[in-house]
Subunit: 488 residues, 4 copies
């Protein structure tokens, strides 16, 4: 699919007799944030009061990586953290880069799961190596653990604060230590992270859908720049300990793409329902860029399932409100049986393309004016193929409406795009008419950055990162991290 | 999921230099008809003009069973057939029961893929065993091959006709021989089967969505009681050979559940668009059983995704037409990451239930009158759990609308239900009020059989099998087939 | 290794509460007879007095194919048969050809394990196919099961006799039925088969080493042309039922290669200790072809481990008896870690050759006159490489002594040689001097057929098959069996 | 088997276009030193003159861990090191403990393979952790890498020297860096390590049998306390660079068990042929503890194959020299098909015991006076079972002769024994008569330590470690290493 890739989802749970099972369910609910690999680390306080840590991680979906035997025999204990990782294209990647990372250091065990991307990992890694550190992975996240291990402070929370004060960029992290579950979010608040509770158990998760699946109640978000600590005292007193990172930026930089595409519509992130914001985007899109049938017939609004469904409803509802006759229809059927291993060799890829994933419902499209609502366009290749597929059903007209702005710049905080040269909007100089011609539709319209921000309900417009649209980067980038070099 | 299980999907292709690849894509498009296992048999006419047959089959999704190496090195040739098999609960099943079956007999090779269920396989098998036949599987379908192998006739098509004249029940079959692709449908026409064409290639498939994926054009259905033969002559002349089975029943008995639930909405089966009939079912359901908000507010119509989506649109559209204010919403989010291996141990199964598969979009449901549209109820357990899940979002009222009649009887022609005792409608004596109480909703309404049949557009109402609703079986049942006994 | 390949080993056990485990140990003891694949079929009389058969078979060593779970959960019951299969070079082979074969036919279950090769399987298979039989494998052994399944007789033992009277060639078979363990040996007695007993359990095995491993006592051989039946009555009365096949040839045709190479030295076969006969071969070889050091020093006798060890002892002992000063030494060390998967790509194969398997003990060989004793030479390639390896240790002279005659003809009764053209003795026209030159040794000597037969102790010389040496075939050959054609 | 376990074998090769293949063959030749796991690291200087390191390691035999694809696609390059690891009983062990270890540190890559056991790894590890080091494994060997990574010196060889000067105990190591192959042996010289050459390639190996397999010529041993460096200059000039570790102990402490049991008889270690010393041990054993038949008949000398074969020859030869009539025979046949996965459940283990591995050749043993020669006894359980097995063949008498002293103490330098309490000699207070009674033989005799040392040819008796016999430890032990604690 022609969409940006998220870097991952994280989950943690404390004081729960089914800690690993619930982490498994939580990761399953967060599966859309990363399908490449998954891992769980558990802490088991044994009879001698000794914390024993166990880990299992591998490539594959959550449901492929874990099995009952693991939960019953290995991943035991009452505290756990887990991590989902997105799918890289490279096959050379190794399981040693799959998180969580677990190490045993001077003050005991520490396990880490990280969502986001550090922007100064390269220089920090070089410094650490110069001091004799031996890195186990080529992941930027490992830097955090070495900073902790080398700290001369004798308090784990203070060590974590010291380490997180040194790293820059985007990080929503969960850490599991011998005595606590720790969660932290970078001062800019790029990536979401929330706190939940179920009976005596405390939960940390990237999105609230991971709380829902285990019946946990949403308490609040981990705030930008906050470190929260959950330990046995928290369980007894009900009080979550909170600490602050040193840096306090003027504005937050919440990733707006979380609302546009990444997060699940049934989640609440950054303290707002994704579903509502996505519907609002659809309404503004309709208001700014409505479509009318030239013969006065009903306009058919269809979405690219499933990510644009909510937005399409908002769009069609607003058309009605504007007095434009329209109908929401299911015009594209999507197959959900395409696993990671689906084969489609070169030549056939070009021939069959999106047919493997989508088919049209012809009766719905034939002879009609179609509004195809999509959340974003990256390369444009899938959109072009979809348009061709729809044309085989002989519609009257096809109008493409995008519920975000043209993507023009790379993201350094945790999204993975193809190279700038491959971005269709950049390639065609952000010329909408050129994009329309390329996609061969009757019209194509995007939203402006301001229109997007106006859909953010009562959230401050200055609180978002829009760098992939605007090129304005809230945190400076240190390009010295060289994953390829560290890989061998 | 609490739905009937289909027995399978079949596919065949002739005169195609990517026969196995295209069969793979066809089976992928038919994956909803069977997720347990898949198989492909290819025929390769080698340099010496000798037909060489190759076979690969295994448990798993189509994308898990096959790989590029297989297509490039083993499944070569210009003709192929394939089969998808549904998921049985028993773990004891063996790959020897996975189709296609391939044998080498007096007149050469023959491979078979069968959708449907034979009703006299038990007595035929006994006869054959008494004559010295050795069966390789415990499948009813193997009987057809032994009947062919034992035939004293010296023409393969006539052998196939002789064999199919002997078997009773439901069969849509594709067969591959040394020189032809043969397809046949039982005289009652229980299961769909269509013919397509792409350039010089001829295709046979359970549903037209398998033609669409490889860009083939729909030609026509294989008629009930028809045997079609596609061979090199067909390719040259464009003429498909057609033969008739001997039996000519007064009425056809097309499986109405294919329209209600099994087939994909983008398919045309029994010569009609599934999507249109499913929407029609929704409209009649709305007409007969509308829902109004007690406070005059908008009624929220939601579906159980994805199978009831089209029906819910039809329902909401008709409410509007009746002047009832309503809105179609996405109230349930379904996870598509649940593979065959998802773990949910006993106790957690009861606790978490449908949460693993569904989550609510709370903002959409809270304080509203909800119409939940579903296509059918089998045991009722999933419906009850879904209702409970929705209640957590605090709706005003919940009304359940089912686009079919109460399921009261077993199917002997190719659907798999739980035992009669587990069917909720049968258990509660088809008492709608009892079902309502059990599900704990404000109202529940089904369609009558006649209402369902009235949605079948211009198709004759007598042309359908409704035995799972009515108990009227169009073909008599011979219960002597004992899969368990044959299994060891 | 440059040795003939045996076709397999068979084992059966009746009335034993660890039937499958003991079959596993028996097959392990017979592993030298076949390392490609292994299988076990068990019979479990369940509570309802119904015989339930279970089967597991796969490619690999016995220890790789089976595991504890299989024995505890699947291969239960008090009777079992098993089979070891030798390693074919072709990779195309399929598990469906792995024995035992198990079928369910008119009179119940029957499982079969067969050692040997049928010489009229081709024509019998053609007849059966013409009558409508569907074969599951490309193995000659399956013919026996179809003959049984088609028999109109209503007594299983008589059916088995009828079937075995029809097949020609070499067969030592064990069969398991609903009520008995049956074993039979062809009238010529090509392959060994013995009967053992341990407490109440009866055992059938290819060699007595399979009795020893489970502490069973050797009772007697199954006689050539005999069918023995062991059932519940046998267990009660201690009486093994015995029947005779119809054919009674003038002479037996015991495979002399069983003594020369195939059987384990700790086994008794054809009622004689293999170890004793092998030592006798060594003594006769020394008597006929002694070696003396040209300088009157001690001659060093070494064997090609492990198959020639016993023979080398016999040889050296007789040299001493003849007054020739000699010493038995371990001059070659053999690695036992070479599994089926050992990699040795083309070029390196030529370079490294036997080094992968053997290394010399230089101190033993340097400056000495070496007698290298081997049991047989097939292609001569390994022998040549071994000679070169030994030369690197700078011996004074190398004399090769072979404890059998030159192999000149193919075997049709169950041994697998390379093609006649590849047999070194045939290639070089049975010219010993040419063979010596090719191997580049100081002398090479074989035994004559009569010398070999004279080592057979008190057994009649006419009782052996020597066809691979003499070309005299005791049973005529029907070459119409076409494994390759049946394979697809 | 009831034998001590070796800690491993190491191999390295420089300047060879088939470096990984040759390492594979070398490890195969050293397979007897460790069957649990294997690994290879290669260095490939790519076109840009950048050294790229690749690694593959896993549990299993060398032939199971590697495959052709790995050698062709991944393990490319002209320098490589490899490691074999012995079989631990614990199943909890993880692949991260399998060697070689490969890290990327300040001065580039470094890979390590280590044979032996460090005696101060516990305290060194604690120090390093206190300074912030993060360990990847629970292996003592990893300490060496951290010492190197932390060194402030800017020359790799000097860093290695600095690190190896800090560690105590037994180490024969090979290291691969960006520009050289380095090998070193601890100042006491516990474990063997030799240098070989083949054309332009230089080879390092634990034993010379690993040189033989790839046709390399033995040059000399790496000396105790020596570091040798092989780099591109060495290839050009033929000069191996040599450095000295600082410590220079008065005596060497070569492991005498290498001669008794560990090393292959075809190897030269510590500059002497293993085969010769093993034969000498047999001769002295015969001289000190001859056996005579009470009726003046020939005494039958048999070995426990294969490790005692050479010793048994020495024993029998000396009996003859002493005028005692005797004969060397193969009385025990050993199966070589027992892989790591052989199943033998509890009860059957007791019943069948050594039968799974050994069978007697009855004709050889019946009525005879048997001398059973074995190299060592650890627990005594296998010996007892072997004696029982031999008794079933009805010998006249059984005399056990052991070619080493009673094992009474643990080894801390790289051998793995069961706990002191399980050692039969220790358990029975080193009382030979008690051991005889326990084993139920007619006599049992060991060698004294001095007798063993007198077999060491021209090597100084003070040059050996005999601590497992004498309790005299040449290097002091720091017991603070806690593998279990590091494992989680």
């Amino acid at each position: 699919m022609d969409k940006p890739k998220s870097y991952c989802g994280v989950f943690g749970i404390y004081c729960n007799d089914k800690a690993a099972y619930n982490t498994y369910f939580g990761l399953h609910a967060l599966q859309h944030r990363g399908q490449e690999a998954a891992g769980i680390v558990t802490r088991n306080i044994n009879k001698g009061n000794i914390p024993v840590f166990s880990m299992h991680k591998n490539f594959g979906l959550v449901s492929e990586v874990f099995n009952d035997k693991l939960f019953q025999e290995k991943l035991t204990g009452d505290a756990a953290i887990g991590h989902n990782r997105y799918s890289t294209t490279g096959s050379s990647d190794s399981v040693k880069n799959v998180q969580p990372f677990l190490v045993n250091y001077r003050l005991g065990h520490i396990a880490l799961a990280h969502n986001g991307n550090l922007t100064n990992a390269g220089s920090l890694r070089q410094e650490l190596v110069n001091e004799g550190a031996i890195f186990q992975s080529s992941s930027d996240s490992e830097v955090i653990l070495h900073l902790i291990a080398r700290s001369r402070i004798n308090n784990q929370v203070e060590q974590i604060k010291e380490a997180l004060d040194k790293v820059k960029g985007a990080f929503s992290v969960v850490l599991l230590t011998d005595s606590s579950l720790v969660a932290a979010r970078d001062p800019h608040g790029f990536k979401p992270l929330c706190i939940g509770k179920h009976n005596n158990s405390y939960i940390i998760a990237s999105e609230t859908c991971a709380l829902d699946i285990i019946k946990a109640e949403y308490i609040r978000d981990v705030e930008p720049g906050e470190i929260v600590v959950i330990d046995d005292e928290t369980v007894k007193t009900g009080s979550i300990k909170s600490f602050r990172l040193t840096e306090k930026p003027e504005h937050h930089s919440k990733c707006i793409f979380e609302y546009i595409y990444f997060s699940r519509p049934d989640s609440k992130i950054f303290d707002h329902n994704v579903d509502k914001i996505r519907r609002k985007l659809g309404k503004i899109l309709a208001e700014k860029h409505p479509v009318r049938d030239k013969d006065g017939e009903k306009v058919i609004v269809i979405s690219v399932p499933d990510s644009s469904n909510t937005c399409a409803i908002g769009y069609q509802n607003f058309l009605e409100k504007m007095g434009i006759h329209s109908k929401l229809e299911i015009g594209l059927i999507r197959s959900h049986y395409i696993g990671r291993t689906f084969i489609l060799p070169g030549q056939l890829k070009r021939e069959l393309g999106v047919r493997i994933k989508f088919n049209t419902v012809r009766g719905v499209l034939e002879g009609r004016t179609i509004v195809l609502v999509d959340d974003s366009i990256v390369r444009g290749t899938t959109s072009k193929q979809l348009v061709n597929l729809i044309k085989e059903a002989n519609p009257k007209e096809i109008h493409l409406r995008i519920s975000s702005s043209p993507i023009l710049f790379p993201c350094y905080y945790g999204m993975d795009f193809p190279s700038k040269e491959e971005l269709i909007a950049n390639k065609l100089n952000n010329n909408i008419e050129e994009i329309r011609k390329y996609l061969d539709v009757d019209s194509v319209e995007y939203m402006t950055i301001d229109e997007m921000l106006s859909a953010m309900k009562d959230q401050e417009p200055t609180g978002f990162c829009t760098s992939c649209f605007s090129g304005k980067y809230p945190v400076s980038i240190d390009n010295s991290f060289r994953k390829e070099a560290y890989d061998n």
